[in-house]
Amino acid sequence: MGRYVLRRLAGAVPLVVGIATLIFFLVHLAPGSPVDLIIGPGVTREFRTQMIETYGWDLPLPVQYVKWLSAMLTGDFGYSFSQTRPVRDVLLGYLPNTVVLSLAALTVAFFFGIVLGTVQAIRQYSLLDSGLSVVLLFFYSMPSFWLALMLILTMSLTLGWFPVSGTVSTDHEFLGLGARIVDRARHLALPTLSLALVLTAGIARYMRASMLEVVRQDYVRTAHAKGLPERVVVFKHALRNALIPVVTLVGLYLPFLFSGTVFIETIFAWPGMGRAIVNAIGQRDYPLVMAGSFFFAMMVVLANLLADILYAVVDPRIRYE
């Protein structure tokens, strides 16, 4: 197993370097330069040139590329001039927020997705099944930014149950440890829901289909026939096998959550990776854009690896040696 993981990681290296190269040239081929965002009226043309030289933006692209790649391989991600901090610090600052939100959304989505999908499958064609299908399809068709605004409108503005946005309240520093955790959780609720509701709907559909297939298998019929209670049949015999196709979704959703939550981060004023990278693109903060994209590429590779390992966990027939 360990060797398998290592082999997979080694195989990912050329992939990640290839992606990094592509990103580097795409970013630099885009028109516009950071200099024009920095300077103001009265800055002379001579000074503009001087500034371009200081940052090394006048060097030929291949030279810039080699400098950047060799720095990055030694762990130096460069300096983010839009945030005036090393890129490493910038990313480490946003990472916890992104990880918390992504994992919360993923946990909620998979928990409810699996439960609802299973319930629908074992009560196939019941009123409950049809009702849930309608509700889930409704959420599945909603763009998450619209859902987010509706949640703010109902849960915050009208009912006042949850704070509108942000990661903590203004008086967070003065709260006790317990109150601080509650404060964080309350702020986490709406962004998590906005992300998770859409995912839940998808996962539940997969789960329902997969479960329906499994409950028709001979071994499930056998389990029923030998008089096992319904609960044992479903949870012990059927569920684990039905989970196999659903596990693939972890590999798909995890990188999506890490990179694709810009709208949610914007609406809920959540300082995460997505917003950081989009801002950096707007400001042509090359080092930050490239390091961020590189990070996302790593996430895709790792998430796929994680999915493969999870297969082995849920499916006894799969072994990696």
Partner: protein, 578 residues
């Protein structure tokens, strides 16, 4: 695989979640102020902590119910470059330098007349060749060092040093730059050299003073990247920096040692600047009383704010104008008659009504209507499609082939593209309305959207100037100076978008810069406004009113053309609401 190892995986996931939560919690910091892991910050922040503790012991908070509490201001954007006076051009950042964390030598009263602030008095040499500032002796940096003439001299040499790349270099056009321009007479007296010119105090109301004892050893070219600005600024103003989480919030606390003569410590215990990038969310935060001030809601949210009993809409004229800049280097725009015809063919009044819901004034030039230099008797170009057609005929543009678009004698079409930046609905609307209205007078307009960084490069690069027209805006200082925009000698500098050459304009721009006396300057300004209308380097659109949503529980708030934060140290929370 067995069920045993599956449990291990599950536990690993739980540990991951827990550790992620606890790292996130660590960032907020309770009790002692959070100190970024940077050598400079590690060194200065403990001194700040000690200073605040000492000052608090020495200056007990007066017994008045107005003291205390936290006020939160919500805005869409981060303060780029933070408190780094030397390199920042961001509006909010500069407001915080002037009124929150740092101090300027002078500031302006409600009528925009200079009054003492860090400088308790000043005098001007008889021949107007220098100004001497006498500093207060009771102002301390937030690490306990006294603010003195060395700080002023350091700041002046830094911002006038080309290596710093101070973004408003035009400020220093009439000053003696560098070390030669500043003389320390004693520890609290400093003299700055200049050539006689108008409104010479203005830069000193806008550029805050930086601490020499902390930044004096930093080479000017490296100041841009110094942690001072964004990670641990040490100011001398009414609020002490507490913490900054990028793209999230800045927290400041009251400075208990702020000079009594200037009002002593601010009423608020803490002041928070929150970044909420979505306008709908900001409105919800204001209406749920989570933020006390919503800075510049778009006009379409104004009515919602007016209708809410707990918040007020503040409205005041401001210093920015939206316009379409023309590139007169293009053959179809080289003739001032064509540019005038474009303006006359555009119904600007109805555009202001439609786009700003009336929260704005049609502009005919760069001088804002509230400014002393504004001459209300100068008549701008009004909406006159007939007159526009006549002007175009006169300039030799006629529809020779009957396709609805005019051509010149060579058959070249009168077709212009108008660029605007991505994500700005108002500017997009302007380009599209102009397209519709100008087709009526035979001009073909092609709106074109470009992202902000690309747009700036296309219009600012002297050898490129890849645009015909561009919808964009300027924010003016109180000292108006259009030299960099319209003087023909600056035509190869980044901001000479129009590239027009007009000897009368050149003469006025130079003379206006030199005229010290306001009454003398007034008639020149009036002439200048007429030339601008004649030349039309831009089609000036409007001066938008500045709007702000302010919660009723926050009191004592003054907002006007000086900015939102002008009296933040006098803001207080209604004691009944706390």
């Amino acid at each position: 695989m067995t069920s045993h190892s599956s449990r291990t995986v599950a536990r690993f996931a739980v540990v991951l979640v827990l550790s992620a939560v606890s790292t996130a919690c660590g960032g907020g910091g309770g009790g002692p102020r959070p100190v970024p892991d940077v050598a400079f910050c590690q060194e200065v922040m403990p001194k700040v902590e000690a200073y605040v503790a000492r000052a608090r012991a020495e200056n007990p908070t007066p017994d008045d119910p107005r003291y205390g509490g936290t006020a939160v201001v919500g805005t869409i954007g981060e303060m780029a470059d933070g408190m780094n006076v030397a390199v920042s051009s961001d509006y909010s950042a500069r407001q915080h330098q002037q009124f929150v964390n740092l101090m300027t030598l002078i500031d302006y009263d409600e009528s925009v007349a200079p009054r003492p602030y860090l400088a308790e008095s000043w005098e001007v040499a008889e021949d107007n060749s220098s100004v001497t500032f006498h500093l207060r002796r009771d102002v301390y940096w937030h690490d306990g060092e006294q603010t003195d003439a060395h700080d002023v001299a350091f700041t002046y040499t830094t911002v006038t040093n080309p290596e710093t790349a101070f973004p408003n270099a035009a400020f220093w056009n009439h000053y003696v730059e560098g070390e030669a321009g500043v003389e320390i007479i004693d520890d609290f007296t400093v003299r700055i050299g200049m050539e006689p010119h108008s409104e010479f105090l203005d830069p000193f109301s806008s550029v805050a003073i930086l601490p020499e004892h902390l930044l004096g050893d930093v080479p000017s070219a490296e100041l841009r990247e110094h942690p001072y600005g964004m990670q641990c600024p040490v100011g001398n103003g009414p609020f002490v920096f507490w913490s900054h989480s990028p793209q999230e919030r800045w927290v400041f606390e009251a400075n208990p040692g702020f000079p009594q003569a200037l009002g002593g410590r601010p009423f608020l215990d803490r002041y928070v600047y929150r970044i909420v990038p979505d306008p709908t969310t900001l409105l919800a935060e204001l209406l749920t009383q989570n933020i006390d001030v919503y800075v510049t809601p778009p006009p379409d949210q104004a009515q919602r704010i007016i209708d809410d009993p707990n918040v007020d809409l503040r409205r005041f004229p401001f210093r920015n104008y939206v316009m379409v800049g023309w590139n007169a280097r293009r053959p179809q725009l080289a003739d001032a008659r064509v540019r005038r015809a474009i303006t006359m063919g555009t119904d600007r009044e109805s555009i202001v009504q439609a786009l700003l819901q009336g929260y704005g004034t049609v502009a005919d030039g760069s001088v804002p209507p509230f400014h002393w230099a504004y001459d209300p008797d100068v008549e701008g170009l009004s909406y006159d499609p007939e007159g526009a057609r006549a002007l175009l005929e006169e300039a030799g543009w006629a529809d020779r082939d009957g396709d609805g678009v005019r051509e010149d004698a060579n058959g070249d079409l009168l077709s212009i593209s108008i660029k605007y930046n991505t994500g700005n609905q108002q500017r997009q609307d302007i380009a599209e309305i102009m397209q519709a209205q100008l087709s009526e007078v035979g001009i073909d307009v092609v709106p074109q959207v470009v992202d902000w960084a690309t747009l700036l490069q296309q219009i600012n690069t002297p050898d490129l100037r890849d645009f015909d027209g561009v919808v964009i805006a300027w924010v003016a200082e109180f000292r108006l100076d259009d030299l960099d925009l319209f003087h023909s000698e600056r035509i190869d500098q980044p901001f000479a978008w129009s590239g027009t050459r007009n000897p009368e304009m050149d003469r006025l721009l130079v003379e206006l810069g030199r005229t010290v006396d306001r009454s003398e300057a007034r008639s020149l300004w009036s002439e200048y406004q007429k030339v601008l209308i004649e030349e039309q380097p831009y089609t000036f659109f409007y001066f938008p009113d500045r709007l702000d949503g302010v919660s009723r529980r926050l009191q004592g708030v003054e907002m006007d053309a000086r900015g939102e934060w002008v009296n933040v140290k006098d803001w207080y929370l209604d004691p009944a609401s706390r």
